[in-house]
Symmetry: C2
Subunit: 208 residues, 2 copies
């Protein structure tokens, strides 16, 4: 299947890359991906938490979830991770743009059924999504494990597109008396909010 | 077509909504969506800038872009907008979660070919993506307009899922001596970066 997927760059080829290290960098910098698949001819795009573990993307969800059942069945899917890095204010509407990094991974997921692999994959997810947290949490129960579906998508067919840097204006626009530049954007952590039923004496951990 | 799209909520139905106002709120709070469609049996998920104009989502791109050609041809697509609002630290791995707002819009886009509608749609895009900017920019040239494809997706079949608030732990986990709560996340603007070739005397506009 994968050899038929068209990941050729036609437009703005300078922004595109099939480099594996770059793809891993983009994937490792995010926590939420968008998963695309088709059901009965209709495309769906679902936001999901993910982690990269070596050459695979791990996704999880409830065993009852229709999305997880569909992914676990091995249908073709596309997992996209995007970082929206900034607004690019050019001197024209046409050259106005965005800075971003985005990696798409194409393929078919397999369900992780081996209990040891499943437990290790959940640990990878927690370690990626909430670094430092795992040591503070009790072990998952067998009931919790069997209520969770995990799937793995190999990072084999993928492509990355990035735009960075200042606006690229037409020469004829450069004498316009208008500001041009970039407004950077970043997903920033706010002040942690304690749960209302937190036990007295429990302090906020370092890893927050 | 649309009546066959399954937007029923099976899991965590309390998080789901078909409310139009809520969908508009989620859409209006973002600038980048993920567009899903299928080509030769392979799903693609592409990040794109967008704007909502009344009951439609506007997307744009180069006339040469394969993605725009595919969307303009009216294939079934799914546009998803997601705000990743926070990490939810529960007392167990199983109940750890994320706060988010996400709206999916399903349907088929139509190409905007009428010149007046096309110009107005580009204005809507600029006004949404870079509020206040339009007055500072020269008018788009006929060449620029004809180099741009615009499509409109009606907001008719859609669904929104949100999670907000503190973790929901099992009663039996509430006596764990571990911090629980939410780490909020927000996409924040940084200090603007002037283009290197900015004209002397041009100041940063208010709308940044």
């Amino acid at each position: 299947m994968t050899q038929n997927i068209d990941t050729k760059f036609r437009r703005e080829a300078d922004r595109g890359s099939h480099d594996y290290e770059l793809a891993c960098e983009v994937l490792d910098a995010g926590k939420v991906c968008h998963v695309g698949f088709t059901m009965d001819g209709q495309p769906y795009v679902i936001p999901m938490a993910y982690a990269r573990l070596d050459g695979q993307i791990l996704l999880h969800g409830s065993v009852a979830s229709r999305v997880m059942k569909t992914l676990a069945s091995g249908v073709p899917c596309c997992v996209t991770v995007t970082h929206f890095d900034g607004l690019v204010y050019a001197r024209s509407t046409f050259n106005s743009s965005m800075n971003y990094r985005s990696t798409m991974v194409f393929g078919s997921a397999r369900e992780i059924t081996d209990p040891d692999e499943k437990r290790a994959s959940i640990q990878s997810l927690v370690d990626h999504l909430m670094p430092g947290r795992r040591a503070d949490l009790r072990k998952s129960t067998p009931q919790e494990l069997s209520a969770t579906t995990l799937v793995s998508l190999p990072i084999e067919t993928f492509s990355t597109k990035c735009r960075t840097g200042p606006p690229s204006d037409k020469k004829t626009d450069l004498d316009a008396q208008v500001w041009a530049g970039v407004v950077p954007l970043e997903l920033v952590k706010g002040e942690p909010i304690d749960a209302p039923d937190i036990l007295p004496g429990v302090e906020r951990p370092e890893y927050l």
